[in-house]
C-alpha cells in the first residue's frame, strides 16, 4: 500500500518515517561498515574482562570465556616506577578534564555570543580570524608552545595540562553559528526590560544554546581526556600527569610482562568508556548543533 503511494508521488527517500523494503540496500552497506567499525571497539571491551590465560591464549580468541574483574583490581593496586599509584593519574585526568571542559564551554559561549549578537567594530575580522583558526593544527606549534609554557611560568604545574587545551576555535565557531539563528528580538526585549548583557547571556542565551554547549563539551572532553602531549612535554612531576599519559607508558614499559597486558586492557576500557557514554547522552543535541555548522 505504502509502496504504491511512494512510486506514484516521487519522493526523495530522505529521512523516512517508516521502514520500507527499498531501504534494505542502504542497510546492506551500513551494517557491514558498522561491524567493521565496531569490532575493534568490542575488542577493547572484551579484552578488559579476560583473565591472563585468555589474553595470551593461542589460538587467539575474540570472545571471553571466564570474564573477571582481576585486570581492574590489578590496575587499581599497581604503582608505576616512581611510586605514583594509577588511581592518582585517573584522579588528575578527572580534575583536568573537568576544568578544561568547564572553562572551554564558558569562554567559548561568551565569545561566540559576543561575535554573533553584539555589534562592534572589528567583529567580522575577529570571526574571520577564528574561522581561519579552524584549520589550525596544534601539533605544528608544540615547540613554540613549550617555550611559552616555560617562560609563562606554568611549566610543571597543573595549569600546563589545562590552559593549552581550552582554546577550541571549532567550539566558538559552532556557538556563533548557532546563536546567529536566535531572533534578535528576544535579546532586544530583554535589553528593554533592563537586563544587562551578562544577565542576558546567563538567563536567555545559555538555556537557548544548550545543544551547542553539549557539542563544545564533547569536542573539549575528547581533546583533553585523550591528550598525552601536555603531560609528556610540559610536565615533569609524575604526580601531575594524566591517565592517558600513564597508559602510553604502560604499553611501552609493560609490554613484556604478563600482568602488564591485563592492566593495559583494563586501562584501555577506562580510557574509552567516558567518551562513549558522554557522546551517547549528548548525541541528539550534537546533531542539532551540527545542522548549523555550515561555513557560508
Amino acid at each position: 500500500m505504502k509502496k504504491t503511494n511512494r512510486t506514484r508521488i516521487r519522493q526523495s527517500g530522505m529521512n523516512p518515517k517508516h521502514f520500507d523494503r527499498s531501504q534494505l540496500k542502504f542497510y546492506a552497506v551500513l551494517i557491514p561498515v558498522g561491524i567493521l567499525m565496531a569490532l575493534p571497539i568490542l575488542f577493547i571491551i572484551v579484552n578488559a574482562f579476560k583473565p591472563t590465560d585468555e589474553l595470551f591464549a593461542y589460538p587467539p580468541r575474540f570472545y571471553v570465556k571466564n570474564p573477571t574483574l582481576d585486570n581492574f583490581r590489578l590496575l587499581l593496586s599497581v604503582s608505576s616506577g616512581t611510586t605514583v599509584p594509577a588511581v592518582r593519574y585517573l584522579f588528575n585526568s578527572v580534575i583536568v578534564s573537568a576544568a578544561v571542559v568547564f572553562t572551554t564551554v564558558f569562554i567559548s559561549t561568551a565569545a561566540g555570543f559576543a561575535l554573533s549578537k553584539k555589534k562592534f567594530r572589528g567583529r567580522g575580522l575577529l570571526f574571520d580570524i577564528n574561522k581561519t583558526a579552524l584549520m589550525f593544527v596544534s601539533v605544528a606549534v608544540s615547540i613554540p608552545r613549550y617555550f611559552i609554557i616555560v617562560y609563562g611560568g606554568i611549566f610543571d604545574t597543573i595549569w600546563a595540562n589545562i590552559l593549552p587545551l581550552v582554546v577550541i576555535p571549532t567550539g566558538v565557531f559552532l556557538v556563533k553559528q548557532f546563536a546567529d539563528q536566535l531572533p534578535d528580538a528576544l535579546i532586544e526585549a530583554a535589553v528593554i526590560d533592563g537586563a544587562s548583557d551578562f544577565k542576558i547571556l546567563r538567563k536567555i542565551v545559555f538555556p537557548l544554546i544548550k545543544p551547542t554547549l553539549a557539542t563544545v563539551t564533547i569536542l573539549s572532553f575528547q581533546s583533553v581526556w585523550n591528550n598525552i602531549e601536555t603531560s609528556s612535554l610540559y610536565i615533569n612531576n609524575e604526580s601531575l600527569k594524566t591517565f592517558a599519559f600513564y597508559m602510553s607508558t604502560l604499553t611501552s614499559v609493560t609490554s613484556g610482562s604478563i600482568a602488564g597486558q591485563g592492566i593495559s586492557a583494563a586501562a584501555t576500557l577506562i580510557m574509552f568508556m567516558p567518551n562513549l557514554i558522554l557522546f551517547i547522552i549528548l548525541q541528539s543535541r550534537v546533531m542539532n548543533t551540527m545542522a548549523h555548522s555550515g561555513i557560508k
Partner: protein, 301 residues
C-alpha cells in the same frame, strides 16, 4: 544621552565576553604561529640563543633533505589522498546512506560509525597493535596462517611495505568524526521541497539527486566537513610512530610531515629546522582548505 551610555556599556561587555577566549587564543595560537615563523629563519638548539639563518632552513628542506623529498612528502601525499580525500568521500556516502533509513537504526549506526573517532593515539596503539601483532598470536597473522595465505608470521607494523597501508586503514577507521556528523546533519536538513521541485524539473535518479540537490543544498556543512577532514588528516599525522613504536619509523616507511617535525624538534633538537617544516605544514593546510572552499563554492553555480 541614555542611548550613549548603554552603547558604551554594550561595547565594553562585548570586550569582556571576548577577552578570556581572545587572550588565550593569542597566547596559545597566534604567538606560537608567529614564533614558529621567526624560528624557522634561525638555527636553534633550544639551549643557545637562536642564530639568524635567513632562508637556509627552507632551502635545505627543499633541496638537501632527501628523507623529506623521498619519503616524507610522498608518504604525506599518499596518506592525505586516502585519509583526507578518501575519508571525506566515504564520510559523505555513509552519511547519505544513513539519511535514507529511519531514525532509530540511524542513530545507533551513527554512534557506531562515530565511536572510533573517540579513540585517541593511545587507544589506537593498544587495539591495533594486537590485531597486527608481528608474532603468530596477532589476529591477522593467525587468520592468514590458518588459511595458508602466509607461511611465516609477518611483522606488519615493522615492515616497509605494510606500515603505510595499515596507517591508512586505521586512520580511515577513526576519521568519521565531527565532520561526518556535520554532513549527516546537513543532508538531513535539506528541504524536502527542493527534491520535489527537482523531480518536476526532470531529475531521474538518486545519483542526479545527490549531484544537483543534496550537495549544493548541504554545501555549508560539506565545507565544514572538508576542513575538519583536512585538519584531522594532519593532526593525526603521528600515527606511524604510534603504531610502529619508534620515530623514525622503520626505514621511514610511515614518516609523515608531523613525524618529521618531531624527529627534528624533539630528537635532534634542530628546532629552527623543525619550525620551518611546521610553517610549511600550516601553509599547506591553509592552501588546501582554501582550495577546497573554492572548489565547493564554484560547484554551486
Amino acid at each position: 544621552m541614555k542611548n550613549k551610555i548603554s552603547d558604551r556599556l554594550n561595547r565594553s561587555s562585548a570586550a569582556i565576553m571576548l577577552a578570556p577566549y581572545a587572550i588565550l587564543f593569542v597566547i596559545f595560537i597566534i604567538i606560537p604561529v608567529i614564533a614558529a615563523m621567526v624560528l624557522s629563519f634561525t638555527d636553534f638548539n633550544s639551549v643557545e640563543m637562536p642564530a639568524w639563518l635567513g632562508l637556509d632552513n627552507y632551502l635545505r628542506l627543499f633541496t638537501n633533505d632527501s628523507i623529506f623529498m623521498q619519503k616524507v612528502l610522498p608518504n604525506t601525499v599518499t596518506f592525505a589522498v586516502f585519509v583526507g580525500f578518501g575519508g571525506y568521500v566515504l564520510g559523505f556516502l555513509l552519511a547519505w546512506c544513513l539519511s535514507q533509513i529511519t531514525k532509530g537504526p540511524r542513530t545507533v549506526l551513527a554512534i557506531i560509525i562515530y565511536s572510533p573517532s573517540m579513540t585517541g593515539g593511545v587507544l589506537i596503539q593498544t587495539v591495533w597493535s594486537v590485531i597486527f601483532n608481528g608474532d603468530k598470536s596477532g589476529y591477522l597473522n593467525y587468520i592468514l596462517l590458518k588459511f595458508n595465505v602466509i607461511d611465516e608470521p609477518v611483522a606488519w607494523l615493522q615492515s616497509e611495505g605494510s606500515l603505510l597501508v595499515i596507517m591508512i586503514i586505521v586512520s580511515l577507521w577513526s576519521s568519521m568524526g565531527v565532520g561526518f556528523l556535520a554532513m549527516l546533519s546537513g543532508i538531513l536538513n535539506v528541504n524536502e521541497e527542493l527534491y520535489e521541485a527537482g523531480y518536476i524539473d526532470g531529475i531521474r535518479n538518486r545519483f542526479q539527486e545527490i549531484i544537483y540537490i543534496t550537495i549544493p543544498a548541504a554545501k555549508p556543512q560539506m565545507l565544514f566537513g572538508a576542513i575538519m577532514s583536512i585538519v584531522n588528516t594532519f593532526q593525526t599525522g603521528n600515527i606511524g610512530v604510534t603504531l610502529s613504536g619508534s620515530n623514525p619509523t622503520p626505514n621511514y616507511a610511515g614518516q609523515l610531515i608531523v613525524t618529521h617535525i618531531e624527529d627534528y624538534g624533539y630528537l635532534r633538537y634542530e628546532m629552527g629546522y623543525a619550525a620551518a617544516v611546521s610553517v610549511i605544514l600550516l601553509v599547506g593546510i591553509y592552501l588546501l582548505s582554501k582550495g577546497t572552499e573554492h572548489l565547493l563554492s564554484s560547484r554551486e553555480e
